[in-house]
C-alpha cells in the first residue's frame, strides 16, 4: 500500500456496489471490492422484470420524470424523503442510456428502439427490460465494466471474503474494515478513506424468501451493531407472486402481470357475491371464465387492475386465501398467462417461464401458475443523509453527505440504504435505485475521500485496526469453543418461522410482542451453541453461526419498529391500526443498537415532504371514500 495513497472500500458486488466501484475507479481512486461470492453471482441477478425510467414514448403520452417521481412517492405511501427520489427519477433516463451503451441487450421494437412494458403502480409503459432476467443482464454489464478496471489494476476484488466489522476511529470516522477470507479463514484489516456498504437485503431473517442465500443482512447488522442507525426496518416488501419451494420462494416477476397476466381464484357467485368454489382444486382450464373465476384485482381496482402496487396485491391475495378462496383450499391463487402466445411468453418472459417450468414442472403457456406472496425486499436499511438542493428538487451533485450514514466516511448504497422507496417499493425501481446510488452518490464518495487527503487512512495508527481484528478473532474463538448444545440452523429456522408469522403481510401489536419475546429466547440460545465443525479451513458452519447472531440483532428493529408504528402504511399493515396516521407516523423509524441488551431503541424523525403533499392512497379502489387527487388517464393500455 502506497504511503499517502487514498483508497475506497466497497463491500458488496451487486448492482449498487459495482456501479459505485466503476464510478469511483473512474474518478481515479483505487477501489478494494469485497464480496461473499464472485461478484457476477451477486443477488442482483435475481431481479427479473425491468428498470423504470421516463422515455420518449411515455413522455409524448403525458408522462415525465416528475410523474415517475410522483408515482414512486405515492407507491411508497409518502414515507420517503422526496429530494433523493426526485433526483433519481430525473437521472433514470440517463442511466438507461448508459446501460444501453454498456451493451445490455434490452428488448427492442421492430425499429430497433428499446422496448417498454407496463409495471405495477403506473399506467404508462416506462419499464425497460431484457427478457425476464433484467437484473442479471444489468449485473453482467456492470461486472464487465468492473472487470475492465480490474484488468487495469484500478480495482482489486476480494471475492469469497466476508465483511466483519467497520473500523471507526476515536473521532467517529470510518477508516476501513475487518474482513475474513472464507477459505483460509484468515481475518485481517483493510484501510480505506471511505467505505461503501452495498450489501443488499435481509430476506434470510424471514427464513424463506425470494432472496439469495447470502442476503442475511449480516453486513448491515454489523454496521448497526457498530453504531450506524438503521431506519424503517419494519418495512419489508412481501412480493405478491412467488412460488413456494423447500429451500426458498422463487420469484415470479411482476412483469408477468405487466405483460397481461391475470390474477384469479376459483369462485362461484352466491346472491351476487363471490363465494369459494366448491371444487377449487379442479383443472383450472375447465372453470368458466365468467361464472367460476373471480378476477378480484381487476374487480376491485378497475383502473390499475392486476398492476396495483405490490403491497396492495399481496394483501388482496393473502386475504382471499384467508377467506377460503385459495386454489384447492390451500394458500395459492392463479396467475394466468395462458391467453398469451407461447412465442410472446418466450421473448418477453422467457427467464421466469423457464424457472416455473423447471421448479414446478408445469408449463405456464398451458396452465395458470400457482403463486403466493413471499418476502422479497427491505425498504428499510442503514440510515443515511443527503444534501438537498435549496428548492428540494434533487440533491447537490458530488456532495459528500449524499447517502453517508451517521458514521462519517461510511456510506450505504442500494437495498441496504433506506432511501427512495418509503413504505413500499414500486416494481422495477430497485435496479434503478441501486445503480443511481452507485453513480450519483459514488461521486460524493470520491469528493469526500479527496477532502480526507490531509489525513489518509494509510497514516492512521495500526493499533486501531489490530484491536478490531483481535476482537473478531476472539469472537470466533468463543463460537468455536462454545459447548451449549444449541444448533445454529435450528435457531435460524425458528427465527424465520417466527418473523414470517409475526411480521409480514398482516401484523398486530400482540403478535409482535410475542415475537419479541421469542427473539429474546433465541438470543439466549445463540449464546449456547455447539458447532459441528470447528475446523480452520472454509468453515461455513462457523460463518453461518456468526451471521445468525447478526440476523437476530437485525430482527429486533424489524419487530420493534413494527410494534411502535401504530398505523398501516404501505407494506406495513396492522390489523389493530388499519388506517394511515400521518399526524403521528409520517415519520422515519430510526433504530439504534443497545449493546447491553441486544435490543434496539426506536425514535421517529420527520420526513421531507416538501414537493408532494401526502394524499389518500387507494389506487382508485372501488367503493373507497375519496378519489386520489391526480387524474389518472382512462386508457390503461394492456
Amino acid at each position: 500500500m502506497g504511503s499517502n495513497e487514498l483508497r475506497v472500500i466497497v463491500v458488496g458486488g451487486g448492482l449498487a456496489g459495482l456501479a459505485a466501484t466503476v464510478r469511483i475507479a473512474e474518478a481515479g481512486l483505487p477501489v478494494d471490492l469485497f464480496s461473499l461470492v464472485p461478484v457476477k453471482r451477486s443477488h442482483s441477478v435475481c431481479a427479473q422484470g425491468g428498470i423504470n425510467a421516463c422515455n420518449e414514448v411515455a413522455r409524448q403520452q403525458g408522462y415525465s420524470e416528475y410523474e415517475h417521481f410522483d408515482e414512486t412517492i405515492y407507491g411508497g405511501d409518502f414515507l420517503q424523503h422526496q429530494p433523493p427520489v426526485y433526483e433519481m427519477a430525473h437521472m433514470a433516463p440517463k442511466i438507461i442510456d448508459l446501460l444501453d451503451r454498456m451493451g445490455v441487450p434490452f428488448n427492442r421494437t421492430a425499429e430497433g428502439m428499446r422496448d417498454l412494458r407496463l409495471f405495477g403502480g403506473s399506467l404508462y409503459k416506462r419499464t425497460h427490460f431484457a427478457g425476464a432476467t433484467t437484473g442479471q443482464q444489468l449485473m453482467y454489464a456492470l461486472d464487465e465494466q468492473t472487470r475492465r478496471y480490474r484488468s487495469e489494476g484500478k480495482v482489486t476484488a476480494y471475492e469469497f471474503w466476508e465483511f466483519l466489522w467497520p473500523v471507526i476511529d476515536v473521532d467517529g470516522k470510518c477508516r476501513g474494515i475487518v474482513a475474513q477470507d472464507l477459505r483460509t479463514m484468515q481475518i485481517r484489516s483493510f484501510r480505506a478513506d471511505a467505505v461503501v456498504i452495498a450489501t443488499g437485503g435481509c430476506g434470510l431473517v424471514f427464513g424463506q424468501s425470494t432472496n439469495s442465500v447470502m442476503c442475511t443482512g449480516g453486513a448491515a447488522s454489523r454496521c448497526y451493531q457498530a453504531g450506524v442507525k438503521y431506519a424503517n426496518a419494519e418495512f419489508i416488501q412481501v412480493h405478491p407472486t412467488a412460488i413456494p419451494g423447500a429451500d426458498k420462494l422463487r420469484l415470479m416477476s411482476e412483469s408477468a402481470r405487466g405483460e397481461g397476466g391475470r390474477v384469479w381464484v376459483p369462485a362461484v357467485k352466491k346472491d351476487g357475491k363471490w363465494a369459494p368454489h366448491p371444487d377449487s382444486g379442479r383443472d383450472p382450464r375447465k372453470l368458466d371464465e365468467a361464472t367460476e373465476r373471480w378476477y378480484f384485482l381487476e374487480e376491485k381496482y378497475p383502473a390499475y387492475g392486476n398492476i396495483v402496487p405490490r403491497d396492495i396485491a399481496t394483501r388482496e391475495i393473502f386475504s382471499v386465501c384467508m377467506a377460503g378462496f385459495g386454489v384447492g383450499g390451500g394458500n395459492m391463487v392463479y396467475l394466468d398467462l395462458t391467453h398469451r402466445s407461447r412465442e410472446f411468453l418466450e421473448t418477453r418472459l422467457g427467464g421466469i417461464i423457464e424457472i416455473y417450468r423447471k421448479f414446478v414442472g408445469e408449463d405456464p403457456a398451458e396452465l395458470p401458475m400457482k403463486i403466493f406472496p413471499g418476502v422479497h425486499y427491505s425498504m428499510g436499511g442503514l440510515w443515511t443523509q443527503y444534501a438537498p438542493k435549496g428548492d428540494l428538487k434533487g440533491m447537490v451533485k458530488g456532495d459528500p453527505r449524499n447517502m453517508m450514514t451517521n458514521v462519517e466516511g461510511l456510506y450505504a448504497f442500494g437495498e441496504v440504504n433506506y432511501q427512495y422507496h418509503g413504505a413500499n417499493r414500486l416494481g422495477a425501481n430497485a435496479l434503478l435505485s441501486c445503480i443511481f446510488d452507485g453513480l450519483f452518490c459514488g461521486e460524493g464518495v470520491a469528493g469526500y475521500v479527496r477532502e480526507m487527503g490531509a489525513d489518509p487512512a494509510s497514516q492512521a495508527s495500526a493499533s486501531m485496526y489490530d484491536e478490531v481484528v483481535r476482537r473478531e478473532e476472539s469472537r470466533i474463538k468463543s463460537l468455536l469453543s462454545s459447548k451449549g448444545g444449541e444448533n445454529p440452523y435450528q435457531i435460524a429456522k425458528e427465527l424465520g418461522a417466527e418473523m414470517t408469522a409475526a411480521s409480514t403481510v398482516v401484523k398486530s401489536g400482540a403478535r409482535l410482542e410475542k415475537a419479541l419475546a421469542k427473539l429474546e429466547e433465541l438470543r439466549g440460545r445463540h449464546e449456547r451453541m455447539s458447532l459441528a465443525d470447528t475446523g480452520s479451513w472454509a468453515n461455513q458452519n462457523l460463518n453461518w453461526a456468526r451471521v445468525v447472531g447478526d440476523m437476530l440483532a437485525l430482527a429486533d428493529p424489524i419487530l420493534r419498529g413494527g410494534l411502535m408504528r401504530e398505523e398501516s402504511r404501505g407494506s406495513h399493515y396492522r390489523e389493530d391500526f388499519t388506517e394511515r396516521n400521518d399526524e403521528r407516523f409520517l415519520k422515519t423509524s430510526v433504530a439504534e443498537f443497545d449493546a447491553t441488551t441486544g435490543r434496539s431503541r426506536i425514535t421517529h424523525e420527520d420526513v421531507e415532504i416538501g414537493l408532494v403533499k401526502p394524499r389518500v392512497r387507494n389506487y382508485g379502489k372501488v367503493g373507497s371514500k375519496s378519489k386520489t387527487k391526480k387524474n389518472e388517464p382512462a386508457t390503461a393500455s394492456a
Binding site: V45, R108, G112, Q145
Partner: protein, 278 residues
C-alpha cells in the same frame, strides 16, 4: 405461509433419500465418501419439491452419517437457488448441473433412492463440493470481456439494434459462468497452476462470450485483441467438437454455434493478418 405437520402426517408423506457425497477437507487433501440418509417431504402439499440444496441444508443441521458417526457439515457453494447465479454447480449422479434445480421429485422419487454428489472435476476443490472457478473469470478478462465505453457520464443512447440481433445477444448474455460446459468438455482440463491458464483450452463459455462482445457495435472495437486470444494456444481451435457443452448448458445457449462463429472470425482474422499485416 406457515406449515403445520404433526408426527403422523409426516410419516405418511416422507421418504428417505440416501446421499453419497465425495468429501475433501481442503486443497491437496485426500477425498473420501460419506453417506447420509435425508428425510424428504413429498411436494403434494403445495410446498414445492425438495432439491439437492434443501437436502444439503438438512445435512448441515444434522451432520450424522448413516453409520451414526458425527461429521462436519458439507461445504458447498450456492446463491440464488433459482438457476441464474451459477454458484451451486456440481456433479450429480455423474452429470454436471445446478444442484438447486435438481429436484428430489424427479431425481429420487422413491423411498431409498440414492443420489451421488461430487465436486466439479475441472476446478480445484476448496472444500467438499465447493470449488474454485477463478480461472473462468480470469479467461473472461483475457478476452477483454467488456464493451469499451468512454466512461459513465451521460453521452446519449447506445447503438440501435434489430430485435433479431438483440434476441441473439440476449441468449448469449444469459451465460452465468457456471462451468457446466467446461466440466462436460473432454478438451477442458483441470489446471491448478495459474501459469497454465494462458495456454490451456478456454472452453465453450469463454468462446461464446467472445462472440457476444464481438457482436456489439462498440464491443467490436476490441475484436482483434479477442481474436488474437482465440487463435492462440487454448483458443477456439483447441475445440474437439464433442459438443457436450451445448447439451449440458442449463441456459440452452447455442454454444456450438458460437464455436463455429468464432472459428470463422479467427479464420478471417488470420487470413487478413497474413495478407494485410497486423
Amino acid at each position: 405461509m406457515s406449515s403445520k405437520n404433526d408426527a403422523k402426517g409426516k410419516a405418511a408423506n416422507t421418504r428417505t433419500v440416501r446421499f453419497n457425497i465425495k468429501r475433501c477437507d481442503g486443497p491437496g487433501q485426500p477425498s473420501r465418501w460419506e453417506r447420509f440418509d435425508v428425510p424428504v417431504q413429498s411436494s403434494s402439499a403445495g410446498s414445492g419439491s425438495a432439491n439437492v440444496i434443501s437436502c444439503l441444508q438438512w445435512i448441515a443441521a444434522n451432520p450424522v452419517t448413516i453409520e451414526g458417526r458425527k461429521t462436519t457439515p458439507v461445504s458447498f457453494d450456492c446463491g440464488c437457488l433459482e438457476e441464474v447465479c451459477g454458484a451451486c454447480t456440481m456433479v450429480i449422479n455423474g452429470q454436471v448441473r445446478q444442484s438447486c434445480s435438481c429436484l428430489m421429485d424427479s431425481c429420487a422419487p422413491n423411498d431409498g433412492d440414492e443420489v451421488t454428489l461430487e465436486p466439479m472435476s475441472k476446478f480445484p476443490v476448496n472444500r467438499d463440493l465447493f470449488v474454485d472457478r477463478s480461472r473462468l473469470f480470469n479467461d473472461l478478462e483475457r478476452i477483454r470481456g467488456w464493451v469499451p465505453i468512454d466512461g459513465t457520464y451521460d453521452l446519449g443512447a447506445g447503438p440501435r439494434e434489430t430485435p433479431e440481433q438483440q434476441q441473439q445477444r440476449y441468449k448469449l448474455s444469459e451465460c452465468m459462468s457456471c462451468g457446466c460446459c467446461l466440466e462436460a468438455c473432454p478438451q477442458y482440463t483441470l489446471e491448478p497452476d495459474e501459469k497454465e491458464w494462458d495456454h490451456a483450452f478456454v472452453g465453450a463459455a469463454v468462446i461464446s462470450q467472445t462472440r457476444y462482445f464481438n457482436m456489439h457495435a462498440t464491443g467490436k472495437e476490441l475484436a482483434k485483441q479477442r481474436l488474437d486470444v482465440m487463435s492462440g494456444p487454448g483458443g477456439v481451435s483447441d475445440c474437439g467438437n464433442a459438443q457436450n457443452c451445448v447439451k449440458v448448458c442449463p441456459k440452452e445457449i447455442p454454444l456450438t454455434e458460437s464455436i463455429g462463429s468464432v472459428g470463422r472470425q479467427t479464420t478471417i482474422h488470420k487470413i487478413r493478418e497474413f495478407f494485410m499485416g497486423r
